[in-house]
């Protein structure tokens, strides 16, 4: 039925099968719309956030998906600026994933703030000393860049490219793509960093506060590093998942191992800096704020194990897997490594967001936990469903993996 939209020579399931695949996701999307509607109409009392847990599940997951979406800018950087041509095999997919991650995060943020209609205030009256201002500016700019990068992928659709002006525009847009890759890299660099800076500057929160260079706390640089280390791993993971769902090879093995290798090297650098930073923080920064670092880990369930799991289990371990040539020859090992790396970035964002708020600052305040309400979870499921649907449509009708056709035989 929709054969005319699918690229020649590419095998896709039947329209019926595709609709059947979409149905549960659309249902999930509808469920999310309900939750979002409740939050927008009735207010944020629909969530379980409170005055102490002013940030909750949403901010944690936003930071996580933005870190995972770093694959888009970093792959673009490696391909267009450093000329790693092998990555052309995944760049389109990485751009779509980046677009989904960033637009999804912004969507959730719009539900998360108390007065979404005032979102433009940050642009009109920016406080240029706030990390959040930097994040807002960079993320919106970068989403624009991602949309521009998405455009040529869409214009390559079999029907759209029949229109001569689309075809010519796509061709010319593709030629200037390195400029957008560079701008995207610049913007991503700053907002990934600012997201870390968001917490690092909180000198009222000794658990999060870090010293740093110039105006940036060390978390600024650690967030950048962890994002670009995990980005390729997430691209690897999604490519593998898509090839499992579509039941076909999408890229050559060497692309997997290249992504794993890049991720591995960056992870090892990250783990190194993160360890140094943790030691400095525990032995110098925190005591200067009047806190004995043991206090941070005095409460279950966020004991000291979380710190070790984050650095060793989800940082060092995947790095070692990725850096071993023998493991890199095995797809299951690379997938395991990617899962660990992605879990690592999620844990880091979780610790910075949730644990920072859980650990009390005043002595007579208790350690606190919070459980998200179904509305919060459903809002996030909306983003997941939105991402799956947009990706599925893109995968079916656009060329996300140029090597797919070659690998069919």
């Amino acid at each position: 039925m929709d054969k005319g939209l699918i690229r020649r020579g590419i095998r896709r399931c039947s329209t019926g099968q595709f609709l059947a695949w979409l149905t549960p996701w659309v249902a999930m999307l509808g469920f999310g719309v309900l939750a979002i509607g409740l939050c927008l109409v009735k207010g944020l009392n629909q969530t379980n956030m409170d005055n102490r847990f002013a940030f909750g599940l949403w901010i944690f997951l936003d930071l996580t998906i933005i870190a995972l979406g770093a694959g888009a800018f970093f792959t673009g950087f490696l391909l267009y600026i450093l000329r790693r041509e092998e990555l052309r095999a995944v760049i389109n997919s990485a751009v779509v994933i980046g677009f989904i991650c960033y637009s999804g995060a912004i969507l959730v943020l719009m539900v998360d703030v108390g007065q979404p209609l005032r979102a433009w205030f940050t642009f009109w009256h920016p406080n240029v000393h706030s990390m959040l201002t930097e994040v807002t500016f960079c993320i919106t700019c970068y989403l624009t860049v991602l949309a521009i990068e998405y455009a040529p992928i869409m214009l390559k659709n079999r029907q759209l490219r029949k229109v001569p002006s689309f075809l010519v525009f796509e061709f010319e847009l593709h030629k200037v793509m390195p400029v957008f890759a560079a701008v995207g890299t610049f913007l991503s660099f700053f907002h990934q960093g600012s997201l870390g800076g968001l917490y690092g500057v909180l000198h009222g929160r000794p658990f999060a506060y870090r010293e740093g260079f110039a105006i940036w706390p060390s978390t600024f640089f650690l967030f950048i590093l962890s994002a670009i280390a995990t980005g390729p791993a997430f691209v690897l993971l999604t490519t593998w998942m898509v090839s499992k769902v579509a039941r076909k090879e999408l890229v050559r093995k060497n692309v997997y191992s290249l992504l794993a290798k890049i991720s591995g090297w960056l992870l090892i650098v990250y783990v190194g800096f993160k360890s140094i930073d943790t030691l400095v923080w525990l032995n110098r920064t925190a005591p200067l704020s009047g806190v004995s670092p043991i206090r941070f880990y005095a409460w279950a369930p966020f004991d000291i194990w979380l710190l070790f799991v984050e650095i060793a289990g989800f940082g060092l371990l995947p790095a070692l897997i990725f850096l071993s040539p023998a493991r890199r020859r095995s797809v299951p090992w690379m997938i395991a490594g990617s899962l660990l790396a992605c879990a690592g970035v999620a844990t880091n964002r979780f610790v910075m967001t949730i644990q920072t708020l859980a650990v009390p600052t005043l002595k007579f305040e208790p350690f606190m936990l919070y459980y998200p309400s179904w509305q919060e979870v459903a809002t996030f499921l909306f983003v997941v469903a939105y991402g799956v649907i947009l990706y599925s449509l893109s995968f079916r009708y656009l060329t996300l993996f140029p090597q797919e056709r070659d690998l069919q035989h």
């Binding site: 054969k3 690229r7 020649r8 020579g9 642009f123 009109w124 009256h125 920016p126 406080n127 240029v128 000393h129 201002t133 930097e134 500016f137 700019c141 624009t144 860049v145 521009i148 390559k156 079999r158 490219r161 001569p164 002006s165 075809l167 010519v168 525009f169 796509e170 061709f171 010319e172 847009l173 030629k175 200037v176 400029v179 957008f180 701008v183 610049f186 913007l187 060329t399 140029p402 056709r405 070659d406 035989h409």
Partner: protein, 276 residues
């Protein structure tokens, strides 16, 4: 955000932060503007056809982009980097001069049942061009192409007096619901159009400077190429259920398209006529 708005101050923070922001915006919009301007220029100067071919070529699978010298057995493995346009190829003259004037083996004029006459030059999109005595060029579908399209359901030929460009659209043919863009082998002005049953489709007046036809295959090159094409066609037709189904030797059936499973037809046309 802007000077004069409450909260704005001419201090280092504002100047640096907003300065960078505006620079980024300007770079983004300027780059888009450049791309748009070039796109408009391209559309005006009818470069669209050439660009379409380049874009299509980029999207062809690598195993379809083999260099003609690989097909002729002169080199082991070479992917064409020039969109099958040997006129701009740096290496093509080197290959030719490496032959030291020795012609390639002529081969049989009949390849696996398909005619490859020696009086014409062949384009990789299964068209040929034959110089006429009066200085015009006749363009038609080669035997494989003609067998595949059989008698097309619909055909859209260019207007007499219009220009065609090499690798650009020669004419459009519709067969069993799929549209095929048949590529023109040469540049020039269309002076007459005919139908497929006359054995030719277009008569073209070459540009005054004469037509450069270095990118076209000589009959000697076309014969091994045709063999490869039949292989490729078989690959394209092959589904998981049905293996290769073309006759080996003998005369192929008049309308090959009937032999192709309907759901594969569109892909096969794309593969043979180099349409993405």
């Amino acid at each position: 955000m802007f000077p004069g708005i409450y909260g704005f101050a001419w201090d280092a923070g504002h100047i640096i932060f907003l300065g960078i922001f505006y620079v980024v915006l300007m770079v983004v919009f300027a780059t888009i503007a450049v791309a748009m301007r070039r796109a408009i220029r391209d559309s005006r100067t009818s470069r669209a056809e050439a660009l379409r071919w380049h874009a299509d070529f980029e999207d062809l699978p690598e195993r379809w982009r083999r260099c003609r010298h690989e097909l002729a057995g002169e080199i082991e493995n070479r992917t064409c980097p020039n969109a099958f346009d040997c006129r701009h190829c740096v290496e093509h003259p080197l290959f030719v001069s490496a032959r030291n004037g020795r012609p390639l083996p002529e081969g049989e004029p009949r390849v696996a049942g398909f005619e490859v006459p020696g009086d014409r030059l062949y384009h990789r999109g299964h068209t040929w061009v034959r110089p006429d005595p009066e200085g015009l060029l006749t363009v038609g579908l080669d035997d494989l192409g003609a067998h595949l399209l059989g008698s097309p359901d619909m055909i859209e030929l260019p207007k007499v007096g219009s220009r065609v460009v090499a690798n650009g659209t020669g004419w459009l043919a519709e067969k069993s619901g799929s549209t095929v863009r048949v590529l023109s082998p040469v540049d020039g002005e269309v002076v007459a159009v005919g139908a497929g049953d006359e054995g030719w489709y277009l008569k073209i007046r070459p540009d005054p400077a004469g037509s450069d036809m270095r990118h076209l295959l000589s009959p000697a090159e076309a014969r091994p190429w045709m063999l490869r094409e039949i292989e490729r066609l078989q690959m394209a037709i092959a589904t998981d259920a049905v293996g290769a189904a073309l006759a080996d030797g003998g005369v192929p059936v008049e309308d090959l398209s009937e032999a192709i499973p309907p759901e594969r037809r569109d892909d096969v046309y794309g593969a043979v006529f180099l349409n993405v």
